[in-house]
């Protein structure tokens, strides 16, 4: 499979960034409207193929390193891709591709006309930045790429202004908080650089293991966690996120919920386990405690808030706050099964929540908004969209047969093995709360009568519907046949924790 790409095999890491970057630069020259869209779809398709090929190659030969300009690490800038980064890169590229296909109709009504020319360039640049973070082996380059993705994402969110003026405020809030987060991350990297004199991640690790000022390292870790907490919307630093996701153009919300916060979590995994010295592979003391407390708060607060939101977009955004909590919980416990659960949840939640936000987008596209009072009888008016939301919601709860069940199962197993039954209880409580907010949609959509009988049924645009079902369907497929992904995630978790041990 994909053997025609084999002459390019050593260059896959750089191609993963070059292709979307090239697409972004050329897209203003290609033109706006459908031509720009077709170009973006082609670009993302090629990127996804490369991400797939890269993952297959890493399964064969193990982690790959790429010296930019031929300058060898630690002196040159290194790209470093292992199983974990390749997996998440494939998720970002593939979900990005599907959302790009979906976005054709929705951006035409949601993006201001004078911004359409730049939209695809900014969109592809955001994906470039996210993919770049995943493949970089250099701490400072991670920061630069994080800024590239963040700045473009602020712009993408602000483009929601023609549907909802509040998008400008939420983009501005995110800009301020995101910049504070980025500054914290930069301070952390600066402290590490001051301590070790290197920016290459592998080199950083070996020098940190040699010893040095513990205070500097701990301060760096604290700054890094605070900064990344803002970037990945970890409770209690999540407050920018529901506003941003619910006012952004719906395709943008779909892309961000599936990729942006996930990349923040990836950075936390990479730095905490592959850069900072850890005690026998596990976080200890205050770090683990703080992360577990934040994750627990996220699960309870996020799920409980989700059940009280006035619109479907806000419900989904608060549900994302909770899901970030699950992922961080597994990451903080650092037990192999819990870490596998975390990695699985990154993948599965990207598919499910991406699909759910796209459903919310279809409803906005047809009904002009998705506040719950508009959704009465939606099950009859838009049967396919409603069904997708219900299936996605079941995945959020973690019903057996959905992908959410698989990841939560591993997470629970890990928590029990690590001797944390209280945290495991928390996960179960979170699932019950997820059932509450999913039921809320079911009640409105299926049990309430349609307010205006003439409006039955609403036409559901097929060009938007099949990308939704591609995401939701694949999450069900992974729920029924989890073995290959679980195997990959287990190997990735082993590599991550093994390197730390």
């Amino acid at each position: 499979m994909l053997s025609f790409l084999s002459p390019w095999a050593p260059h896959f890491p750089i191609l993963l960034v070059l292709l979307p970057l090239l697409g972004a630069v050329l897209s203003p020259l290609i033109g706006r409207g459908d031509r720009g869209w077709a170009w973006a779809v082609m670009t993302m398709g090629a990127t996804t193929v490369v991400a797939m090929a890269l993952l297959l190659r890493i399964r064969e030969v193990g982690a790959v390193s790429y010296p930019l300009g031929g300058w060898q690490a630690p002196f040159g800038i290194e790209l470093y891709v292992d199983l974990l980064s390749a997996m998440i890169a494939l998720v970002v590229a593939a979900v990005g591709w599907v959302v790009t296909i979906y976005a054709r109709a929705s951006i035409r009504v949601e993006i201001p006309g004078d911004r359409l020319g730049a939209f695809w360039a900014v969109w592809l640049l955001a994906i470039t930045g996210l993919l770049g973070i995943l493949i970089s082996g250099d701490a400072f380059n991670v920061y630069v790429l994080l800024e590239i993705s963040s700045l473009t994402i602020y712009g993408l969110i602000a483009m929601g202004r023609s549907r909802d003026r509040k998008a400008l405020v939420s983009a501005f809030n995110y800009l301020i908080l995101g910049s504070i987060g980025a500054a914290f991350i930069l301070i952390a990297i600066g402290l590490l650089y001051a301590q070790t004199g290197t920016l290459n991640m592998a080199d950083l690790r070996s020098r940190l293991l040699e010893g040095g000022s513990e205070a500097t390292v701990n301060t760096a870790r604290a700054f890094l966690l605070a900064g990344l907490g803002l970037k990945m919307a970890l409770f209690p630093l999540h407050f920018w996120m529901p506003a941003a996701y619910s006012t952004a153009p719906s395709a943008v919300a779909g892309l961000l919920s599936a990729t942006a916060t996930k990349v923040g979590i990836y950075m936390a995994m990479r730095f905490l386990y592959s850069v900072f010295p850890t005690d026998q592979g596990a976080l200890t003391g205050a770090n683990a405690w703080v992360l577990c407390a934040c994750a627990g708060g996220a699960i309870l607060f996020g799920s409980a808030s989700a059940a009280r939101q006035p619109s479907l977009s806000l419900l989904l955004a608060y549900s994302s706050v909770a899901q970030v909590g699950y992922i961080v919980l597994g990451l903080a416990v650092g037990q192999i099964d819990a870490m596998t659960g975390s990695i699985l949840h990154i993948v599965f939640h990207a598919l499910m929540k991406g699909g759910l936000f796209l459903c919310a987008g279809i409803i906005i596209y047809r009904l002009g908004g998705n506040e719950f009072h508009r959704l009465a009888g939606l099950g009859r008016r838009m049967p396919w969209t409603s069904a997708a939301i219900v299936v996605g919601g079941l995945g959020m709860i973690g019903i057996p047969g959905t992908a959410g069940f698989i990841s939560k199962l591993h997470l629970l197993k890990g928590l029990f093995v690590a001797g944390q039954p209280l945290l495991a209880m928390l996960v179960l409580v979170g699932s019950v709360l997820a059932a509450v907010y999913t039921w809320r949609f079911v009640e409105v959509a299926y049990l309430k009568p349609v307010a205006d009988e003439d409006s039955v049924p609403v036409d559901e645009p097929p060009g938007m519907l099949w990308p939704v079902w591609l995401l939701i369907g694949s999450s069900v497929l992974f729920g029924l046949h989890p073995a290959p992904v679980v195997k990959l995630a287990t190997e990735a978790a082993q590599a991550l924790l093994g390197a730390a041990g």
């Binding site: 260059h11 970057l21 630069v25 050329l26 020259l29 790429y66 300009g69 031929g70």
Partner: protein
């Protein structure tokens, strides 16, 4: 737009020198202080001065929007293109020395010059675009 004859005359005389200095920083950056970013800012500064003296619409006629948009993309393309040519020559991305295997040192110089030219082009046009946005001139 300035009404003062003195400002317009002296400023008009300065602009070519700023441009030449920008080019100097651009070409010299490879072996001394300077480089594409600084040169791009200097070149953009020359045109910003032009727009302050003779009005933004005059500069717009000189450098139309499509031209600026094009050079913004072309600059990045020049950068990526140089890297990709290195790839095609069998080296790593941006490994300039493979551009000319008989004389790697000259190839390094060529590669860095091309890349810096791309940086300069993009920086100059991005800064001009931002300034035009602030000046409120639309095409």
């Amino acid at each position: 737009m300035s009404e003062s004859v003195v400002l317009r005359t002296i400023g008009g005389m300065l602009i070519p020198y700023i441009l030449v200095y920008g080019l100097y920083v651009q070409m010299h950056g490879e072996i001394g202080p300077g480089g594409g970013f600084q040169a791009g800012v200097l070149v953009a500064a020359a045109f910003i001065l032009h727009s302050l003296l003779f009005g933004p619409t005059g500069t717009m006629r000189l450098l139309p929007r499509w031209f600026i948009d094009l050079s913004m993309s072309l600059g990045v393309l020049l950068y990526i293109g140089t890297g990709v040519v290195c790839l095609l020559q069998g080296g790593y991305f941006l490994e300039y020395s493979v551009l000319d295997r008989t004389d790697p040192a000259a190839a390094e110089a060529l590669g860095i010059t091309l890349v810096e030219a791309g940086v300069g082009l993009t920086v100059a046009s991005v800064i001009l675009t931002i300034v035009r946005k602030v000046q409120g001139v639309s095409p």
